[in-house]
Each structure stands twice: as C-alpha cells, then as structure tokens.
Amino acid sequence: MDLEDQKPTPPEITGAEIVIRALKDQGVTHIFGYPGGSVLPIYDALFAANDITHILVRHEQGAVHAAEGYARSTGKPGVVLVTSGPGATNAVTGIADALLDSIPLVVLTGQVPTSLIGTDAFQECDTVGITRPCTKHNWLVKDVNLLARTIHEGFQIATTGRPGPVVIDIPKDIQFKKGRYVDPQRIAHRTYHPKTEPDEATIEAAVALMAGAKRPIFYVGGGVVNAGPEAVKSLRELVALTGFPVTATLMALGAYPASSPNWLGMLGMHGTYEANNTMHDCDVMVCLGARFDDRVTGRLDAFAPHAKKIHLDIDASQINKNVHIDLAIVADAAKAISAMVRVWKEKKYQADRHALTDWWRQIERWREKRSLDFKPSKGTIKPQYAIDRLYELSKGKDVYITTEVGQHQMWAAQRFKFEEPNRLMTSGGLGTMGYGLPAAVGVQTAHPESLVVDIAGEGSVQMTMQEIVTAVQYRLPIKIFILNNNYLGMVRQWQQLLHGSRYSQTSTDTQPDFVKLAEALGAVGLRAEKPEDLDEAIQTMIDTHAPVILDVRVEKFENCYPMIPSGAAHNEMILTDAEEEATEVSDAGKILV
C-alpha cells in the first residue's frame, strides 16, 4: 500500500487561521494595523501567533505609510490589516500612494458578513469598488476555500512585475468558517505573467545606440531600485564602462552614489541645472525604470528635442505614454541592465571618448552655475543649511531618511547625499503630506538599530502626528526633523510666483508648541532657533535613544531653487528670486502647477 494514501488530509482550519498561516508562509514578520468589528477573528488568531509582530498605529493611513516605509527600506512587501468601512477608506490614501510609487503592499481589510453585503450594514463600504482604481489588483473573498490561494496570489502580484498594492477584502463570516489551507508553491496564476526577459536584439540595438552616442545621459528611475541590488550593481557597472553622466528621479536617489563624479544630481522641476540641461541637450537618453512624469519632463514639446530615447520599463503601458520612445525594452531592470553590460563587453564597444570629453566639458560649465547654492545667513537658520548640517552630523551612521511633501522634501532630495538605494523613503507620485512620519515608524520597525530621520515640514507633520504615540509605544526612536517656516512653504512659493504673493490660507502661524507636544506624547522635544544652536540640537537628537521632535525654526520666505517654472522646458530653469520675479508664467503654465 502506498504510504502517500495513508497521509491524513490536513484538518480544516478557520479563515482567520488561514490568514495567519498564509502570512507566516509568505515570510511575514510584521503587520501594521488597527482592529475593528469586522476583523476581530483575525485579531484573535493573531493573539496566538507569536512569530508575527503587530504594530498598532493610531490611524489606518499611518498603517499603510508605515508598511510602505517598511517595504521600501527592506525590499520586502509591507502588510496591513484594517477593519471594514472607515478602516478601509482611511487606508485609501496610503494605497493610492503605494500604487503611484510602485510599493509592494498586501492590505487585508475586514468586510461585513457576506449575508449583509449590499444592505448598507454598519461599517460597510464597497471596499473593492473604492480601491479598484488605486490597487494593482483586489479581491473580495466569498469562499473560505479560496482564501489561502487568494492571499498567496496577492503576494505574488504585489511583489512581481511592477510592484504595487493589492487589497484582499475578507467578510467576517469567511474568517469564522472552516476551510482548506493550500501552500504558496501550489499557486500558478491564470492570466498574470509579467514579461521580465529582455529581447536580445533590442538590447543589442540599445547598446549600439549608446556606443555611438556623443551626448548621452542615463535617466534612472525607481524601477531600478525596485528591481533590487542586482539592478543597482549592473547600473553602476554600466556607468563605469561607458563613462556617461547619470541623473535620477526622486524615487531613485541612491541607486547611483551621489559622491561619484558621474552623478549630476536629481532632475526635474527642482533638479539641478546640470541634470536638466544635460537632459535637454542630450543626443541619446537611456531611461532605466522611470516613467517621464510631468514633474520630470517639464514642457513636453520641448523635452530633450534632439535625443534618441531608449526606455526600459517592466510595465509596457509606460512606453510612449507621455514621450515618444525610439527604442523600448519591456523587461526586468536587473536582467536588462546586466544584459546591456554583457553586450557592451562582448562587442568590445568603446564610448566615443572625444565626443564624451566635449560633453563633460559642457556639463562642467553647467555645474559651475552651482545651482544648489543659497545665501547663507548668520541671523536665521536657512533650511538648506539645516539639511546640510543634518547630513554632516549623521554621516557615517546607518541612516534612513523619510520625508513629508513640500519644500523640505525637495531640499532633502537636492542636498542629502545618498550613496545607496532604499535609504530615502518619500512620496513621489501622489505627493502625500503626512507620509514621512508613519513611514519612519515602518522603517525603524525593520531597522531597529538604525538612525531613522523624518525630514518634515510643520504643515505635513500635523497630518499624521498621532503616530508619534505609536513610535513611543514600540520604543521606535525615530527622529522628526521639522523645518518650521511658518508656512505651507511650497504652496506659498507658488502663490508668490503665480498669484501675486497673496498667501491665501498658507500661513501656519497657529501651530502646536512642538516641544510640549513631544513631551505630551511621550517623546523628547527639542528646538533650534539660531544657527549657532543647530549643531548641538541635531547632535542631541541623534544621541537620544527615543522618539524626538526637533523643531528647527527656519527662514520663513526661503524659496526652493533651482526650479523649472510650470510650462517651461529643461533649459529654462530659474535659479534665484531675482530671476523668479522676472519670469512670466503663461496661463497654460499656471494650470500645470
């Protein structure tokens, strides 16, 4: 008799137990969540699960951003557990954020029992309907025997191809019902097969184009970071082989080391003068895992007008979306870039040294503009100075930076020098104020010994500041570094440029006393008001092994430069206030802000 036949069929377990078991089998060690009526059975199963740590946030949006920070800093998927109705709707901002920045998340939402769906039951909402356009995929699980399969499928879809968030909506009766568990390895998807292998002929054509380039540039995006360490390694090798200049989007800072001579800085609306002019004048643009976002391209009909454009993306829908592409490579960035390296070596290509020398000479002339310089001040702390000091004093430490959204975010992106990927967690696509603090909670959860700093504004931080309590509860010593300029600075800057300095509703004159607030929440509060106080305050912040808010009072009317005014091209940057005053923005440009 075959021994296999004697194997007893595994006993049926409840839906809630299936959820926990599936998470364990997917290697999940941390969940960010908030309990409620429709997820009680899952929380009960979690109570018995010692190997999964649950971080109790103070608002569901915070759970999703924390999971994003966790995911982005580890390369693993982030997992969220929230209840039905408001639990799910509160999570929507974070889910949309993860979709635009391609962050792998598995969001489990409770739902009212199947018998009550559609009756406007208490805490019922159409979660799959609401999240359909802001997830990579979502499911409402109506059969407990499909639950394990759906969760495994969810992890697969969230983490492969172009990563993104998925939502799995689980009615309460399904959590109670008993059913069969299936292992992850048994899952094969019917329709989802992302194309990861590059086409050899296209790679060869791309490399030939690169070898013939006289004014080339690498334009690197978040896709290279998402493709993992192999992609980053290959990128660095490819740059070393070719000697081409490199720029990157906000999402890819650190993929190429900021200390390298080939690094031009970030490109786009607040990118460096040299990065944008190099983009504008290039003859071959090699876009690796970026998506020609409007903040990057500026005016489309004047975008790199002389360039042959190579575009590598794992998502075919990005090709030709905003910009006409001459050579498209739909593949995984790690595979495609390593293939480029291999082909370059095999064919013994040499970059056009003569042309490249001229090109670099031109780039040096743009660099000489020193577009990130600012007027130092003895009396007030300049926000740029504050970031420079934070960078210097945290140098050599194991640092992770998160940001909120606004001027401080752009200054952080311009000035903080990232040498490695996955070190900057920021909301790029959706531009979610309030992202950075909960993201820091997630990053610190994954890296308990590291220095995790949320570079914040006093406006953004008020959107999710209740998560400081979460940090206190779990002894996560995050640092909240507020560049406090008494204004919603970026909006104020636009009002100055486009709306005659009428600062409509952008003053934050009424704001909490952040030092007292920190103390009330169980954190440590510090303040720096004069440049001479700043270093000591930053050092104290770094040395304090507890959550800290450092309220840095900075110059109120500092503007973020350089800047491509809305509706302008890469080679029409403005560098100073004086140039800004002389700039007329067209009505069409005003719409694009």
Partner: protein, 170 residues
C-alpha cells in the same frame, strides 16, 4: 504625448477572467483615464473556463489607442487584447431592435426599406413594427436615419461583436 495625430476608431476585443468586477476593471480604467467608449458588449463565452469576452469600440489618436490597449493588457485578470482594426482583419456585426410607429404611406415605406436592408419585423401591430436588423454599425446607422422621418419611436442596439477572419482564434 503629443496627441496631434488623426482620431481613429478601433474595435478591440478583450478576453478576461469572468470574476466579480471584471467588467468594472476595464470600464473603470476607460473612465478614470478619460478614454472614450463608443460601444461595449460583454458576455461569458466559456462557462467551464470562466472567461468573458469584451468587445469595445473606442476612438483616439494612434498614441492614445496604443495606451488604451497597454492599459487594458495591464489589468491583472485580462488574458488577451486584440485590435481588430490593425492587428488582424476582423468582421464586425451589431444587432438592433428598432420600433417604428405610423400608418398609411409611411408604414408601407418603412416596411419596404426594411426589406431592402434585410431587417425583419419581429413584432407587428396595426400601428407599429419592431424590426430586427443585423450588420456593420454603419448599416444600422443608415437604417435608423431612414426610419427617423417614418415614425421612429425607439432604438435598442447591442453594441459591436467582432471576430477575426480565417481559421485562427484571437
């Protein structure tokens, strides 16, 4: 994208897993990204495989149409997307039920025109006809235009169904 190209009208077939919300995923993408739907048909075509086929007629510049197809293909539950207008030569058919009310000469004229269009009366009273007509959408358009002065009361169209010529499947 510089969308200065000429507006074209394309018929696109989508093979999709017939799961809850499958149609909403595709239609929602059109609405969310501001694409146009001229007509839409959907039905399950394989019960055992749980697959449905959506035929959508849409219009846009060649760049926009390329985006539309890429965005549909990106929907996780989609098996396949085919453009009958450019990828493969296809046949398009649409069915309509058309109610015409009237008496006397107009009634006779309506019946005569219906006959030349091979439209079949499927309901007849002393004062009305319901015609069933099948054909390319343009044929239906002309028939409806001709019925207008003859007492057109109501139109119900199915939207386009399309399939490729020759032995191959989509």
């Amino acid at each position: 994208m510089n969308n200065n190209g000429k507006i074209e009208r394309h018929t696109i077939a989508v093979l999709i897993d017939n799961e809850a919300g499958a149609l909403a995923r595709v239609v929602g993408m059109f609405a969310g990204r501001g694409y146009n739907i001229e007509s839409l048909t959907v039905a399950e075509i394989d019960v055992s495989e749980h697959t449905s086929r959506i035929t959508v007629v849409t219009s846009g510049t060649p760049e926009v149409l390329e985006q539309i197809k890429a965005q549909i293909a990106r929907v996780v539950s989609v098996h396949k997307v085919v453009d009958w207008t450019i990828d493969k030569p296809g046949i398009e058919r649409e069915m309509a039920l058309i109610k015409v009310a009237g008496t006397g000469d107009k009634r006779v004229e309506a019946l005569r025109i219906a006959d030349s269009f091979r439209a079949r009366p499927v309901d007849t009273t002393h004062t009305s006809f319901v015609f069933e007509i099948t054909g390319a959408p343009s044929k239906l358009d002309s028939f409806i235009d001709l019925m207008r002065p003859l007492g057109l009361v109501e139109v119900s169209r199915t939207g386009v169904a399309a399939i490729s010529r020759g032995p191959e499947a989509m």
